[in-house]
């Protein structure tokens, strides 16, 4: 008996060693053919979305994570000429006076089937009407469930603009506007105009479930459907089998939330991420054969926004002094590694409304000092600059930029404290206007120039908390409104020129740079992910089989 017990012991020990041996040996082979691994893509994103419904948030993290993955819009943008092309709407028609817009919908669009909702019918006019009615109808329970907070739609005054939405038949709807608006169609094609399922909303109501589930447990028509979300860690999407546009190639789409840019780079180098947002060390990535660097000119601008409601920046002279003191060229080379252009207007050069002769503010310490003396602050003062801790499309390193500005301002006697928070806290505090000045920026949601003025600087946006300068100017707002009221491009261009002149005089914010948006991926990934507008899209993406 004793001998037998001993041999059992030896066998056990052997088994353990074999297990370790197998594990070690198998670790050497890099290539694995596990289908669960080859049929899925891991995207390393820079932050957590604040919601799963882009109607409720304008931040690019939320847009990237949700808009083109989970949902569709009535129209999309052509990636080359930025024209509107059909999506959920087969076609549309606008009357001559610009007040009636009719959409003819597709009939073959199915909603996601998940463990929390099973659709019984395809998308129809009711869903489209519901999606927009929840924004304009204050008695709608889904308006109340989010306390009416639709920042993008509030900033374009959507509820004042739309008189009603009429159902013509099962697959035709008509918007009736109170006045014509040139950017209306473009706004609907922006990433916020997503179509939700009315049937899902009705189910939530009927079953007495928490109404915010409409936005936190999303149901859409997009190429992927929601499976799991762990705050600050991951989002798991799976393929929507009945996607109307085509058969999606990948089974799983993972968002690995990695705020640190060095950790994203490491994960790309070790192939733990297939695609990463906002890469650093671009030369290194471009030089490697197993990795691909992609860039797209995106409509964005980085700026320093002054809180115009509190001293010292309630005084335009101080804003102008700071504007003169900052050396933008040095910032372009040190922060962007020359992957950007010096910005002299809020509007990027690629926009048709950009006007060249806005009076630029040159870099001059003498002028800055004189202006400070005029403002009665010749002895200098202390100033807080807030800078975000994560990379943005318009600003790869806000902290570094803040340090450069700190050095620039020290030369004219202003002492700068740089303040930073974790990103979502940062945005919350900004919305409350707790800052003196902040380094932030704007990425366009769609090509209409209005998108650069109304959401970040209008009086309406001051109320919604997306106006970082806390600035409201009647004349400026009037110009924006006039421009929206007409479809004549020459008139609009003239009005936007005047608007830009007001900005150049008032300087509620100082434009710094227009950046390109970059992304890096492993060579096995095929398909376009970056788009010029409205966030990334994974619907066309495939992973090549490994040899």
């Amino acid at each position: 008996m004793k001998v037998k017990a001993g041999s059992v012991k030896i066998k056990l020990v052997n088994a353990v060693f074999m297990l370790i041996g197998v594990l070690l040996l198998s670790s050497c082979g890099k290539v694995s053919n596990d289908s669960v691994l080859t049929k899925g893509i891991i995207y390393c994103s820079e932050g957590s979305p604040s919601t799963f419904n882009p109607q409720l948030d304008t931040s690019f993290i939320t847009i990237d994570a949700t808009s083109k993955q989970l949902y569709n819009r009535l129209m999309d943008f052509d990636p080359t000429n930025f024209d509107k092309i059909p999506a959920l709407a087969r076609s549309w028609h606008m009357t001559k006076n610009g007040k009636l817009i009719t959409f003819y919908l597709r009939k073959d669009v199915s909603f996601h089937q998940t463990d929390y909702f099973t659709p019984t019918r395809n998308m129809n006019a009711d869903d489209v009407i519901f999606s927009f009615n929840r924004i304009i109808d204050e008695s709608n329970p889904f308006y109340q469930s989010v306390a009416g907070k639709f920042p993008f739609f509030q900033s374009i005054k959507f509820s004042e603009l739309v008189e009603d939405i009429e159902k013509i038949n099962e697959y035709t709807i008509r918007f009736r506007l109170t006045q014509p608006q040139s950017s209306f169609l473009t706004n609907l094609a922006a990433p916020f105009g997503v179509i939700l399922s009315k049937e899902y909303a009705d189910t939530l109501l009927a079953q007495g479930r928490d109404l915010t589930e409409l936005d936190s447990k999303p149901i859409g028509t997009g190429p992927f459907k929601y499976r799991e979300y762990r705050s600050g860690s991951l989002i798991r999407y799976v393929k929507h089998e009945n996607y109307w546009r085509f058969d999606v190639q990948i089974e799983q789409l993972l968002f690995n939330i990695s705020p640190g840019n060095t950790s994203r780079l490491t994960k790309l180098l070790t192939h733990e991420c297939d695609v990463i947002a906002y890469p650093i060390a671009m030369q290194e990535i471009a030089s490697r054969k197993d990795l691909v660097l992609e860039e797209v000119t995106s409509f964005n601008v980085a700026f320093l926004a002054f809180n115009t409601q509190v001293p010292p920046f309630d005084n335009p002279l101080v804003r102008k002094a700071v504007a003169h003191a900052i050396d933008k060229k040095a910032i372009i080379s040190a922060v962007y590694y020359d992957q950007a252009e010096v910005a002299d207007s809020l509007l990027p050069k690629a926009s048709w409304a950009y006007s060249k002769n806005t009076n630029t503010i040159e870099h001059s310490q003498e002028k800055a000092k004189l202006l400070l003396a005029d403002a009665g602050l010749a002895d200098g003062f202390t100033l807080d600059i807030w800078a975000g801790s994560i990379q943005r499309a318009y600003n790869p390193n806000a902290l570094k930029m803040a340090k450069l500005i700190k050095a620039d301002l020290a030369r004219i006697g202003i002492e700068v404290n740089i303040i930073t928070f974790e990103w979502s806290t940062f945005l919350k505090k900004l919305a409350k206007g707790e800052h003196q000045s902040v380094l932030i920026g704007w990425s366009a949601d769609h090509p209409d120039p209005d998108n650069f003025f109304s959401p970040p600087l209008s009086c309406a946006s001051l109320a919604t908390g997306s106006n970082r300068a806390m600035w409201c100017n009647e004349e400026f707002d009037q110009l924006l409104k006039q421009s929206l009221a007409t479809n004549d491009t020459t008139i609009r261009k003239k009005l936007y020129k005047q608007a830009q002149q007001i900005l150049a005089e008032e300087i509620p914010l100082l434009p710094i740079a227009y950046a390109k948006r970059a992304q890096a991926k492993v060579a096995e990934i095929e398909g376009n992910i970056l788009t010029p507008f409205g966030g990334i899209s994974f619907e066309n993406v495939n992973k090549k089989a490994l040899q």
Binding site: V36, L37, R230, G232, R236, S263, T266, T270, T425
Partner: protein
């Protein structure tokens, strides 16, 4: 033994009391409203605020508030996280097991390498091998974990591609979270990729566990060495030698057993150290544990999470210490009769 138990429980009670007082007072020391800091409910409406005031006795004296706070802690309510609005207890349940898993793996590595190396050094006392092992221990002890972790990633992940650099499991494996311990969850799941997932989880834990294990391992080397030297110099070993027992026999039958007793207790003492090191390693290896969660909470100014995390991690470490003391007392009868606790 009764005396010993009472003394330990006394210590446990007063430490936890102090800890809870510190944690409670933090809600007043942190900026903002004490009630919001305690509950974490930043978006509470009028009605909910009234409920919370009643729950935490905020309208009564500080002493009443403290007792209400303790009551809530004992009923498992740590408030909700200010940034994610998820109950802290849920977050702890998610993240603490990951930390424990990492600490256990590291402790295992530290013990199976550290203790034998220490014994070998003692056996070859003052010989070259002893010097080499001691040098190794000194170097290992002096290397900061954040640097060592980065070197491990650079070498084994980026250059050699042997091990992944971050996380606990390839995210494409969909494993339902039950216990929070990745290995147990994988074994519990009925995933068709169970074996692959298990292997993947193993590959993920290797580097962080080595990084965390290094510092404690060097401590164990030196402890084991000292402990073995003490034993080898004691009279009963001399007596055994005089009886003509072989050196190998003496070490195997008397040396190892007796010197292990001294080490058990020190494992408990060094567990606190291990948790601290693990917190740093978690951030570097993107390990979704309580350490990286706590550090993220500090960045997010999530005061409720900081409070809850502090009290949970501190009590956890302290319980381990007490547990090790009991284990030691059970193994070593001499300890039970000591007049003064260590």
């Amino acid at each position: 033994m009764l005396n010993f138990t009472i003394r330990r429980l006394n210590l446990l009670f007063f430490t936890l009391l102090m800890l809870s007082i510190v944690s409670f007072s933090l809600s007043y020391f942190f900026p903002g409203d004490a009630l919001v800091n305690l509950s974490g409910e930043i978006n509470a409406d009028q009605q909910r605020t009234e409920q919370l005031v009643e729950l935490y006795n905020m309208d009564k004296s500080v002493f009443h508030q403290y007792t209400a706070y303790i009551g809530q802690i004992f009923s498992g309510n740590f408030g909700i996280s200010m940034s994610s609005q998820v109950p802290i207890s849920d977050e702890l349940h998610t993240f603490l097991p990951a930390t424990i898993e990492l600490c256990l793996a590291a402790l295992f590595i530290a013990l199976i390498f550290g203790v034998p190396l220490g014994f070998i050094a003692a056996i070859f006392h003052n010989k070259p091998l002893d010097k080499i092992i001691l040098t190794f221990a000194m170097v290992g002890y002096s290397i900061p974990v954040f640097w060592f972790a980065l070197i491990l990633i650079l070498l084994f992940s980026i250059t050699l591609s042997w091990f992944p650099s971050s996380g606990q499991l390839n995210l494409l494996f969909e494993i339902e979270q039950v216990t929070g311990f990745k290995f147990i969850d994988i074994l519990l799941s009925d995933s068709e990729y169970q074996a692959q997932a298990l292997k993947d989880a193993f590959m993920h834990i290797v580097l962080p566990a080595i990084a965390v294990a290094t510092a404690p391992m060097t401590i164990f080397i030196r402890l084991a060495r000292t402990s073995m030297l003490d034993v080898l110099e004691s009279n009963y070993i001399k007596a055994a030698k005089a009886k003509g027992l072989s050196q190998a026999h003496i070490i195997y039958h008397h040396g190892i057993r007796n010197s292990l007793v001294g080490i058990v207790r020190l494992i408990g003492l060094h567990f606190a150290n291990l948790v601290t090191v693990a917190m740093i390693a978690e951030v570097i290896f993107n390990w979704q544990g309580a350490g990286s969660w706590l550090i993220e909470s500090i960045f997010a100014r999530d005061y409720t999470a900081i409070q809850g995390g502090l009290i949970a991690l501190a009590s956890f470490t302290f319980f381990i210490n007490i547990l090790a003391d009991f284990l030691y007392a059970a193994l070593n009868p001499l300890e039970r009769h000591k007049k003064h606790g260590a």
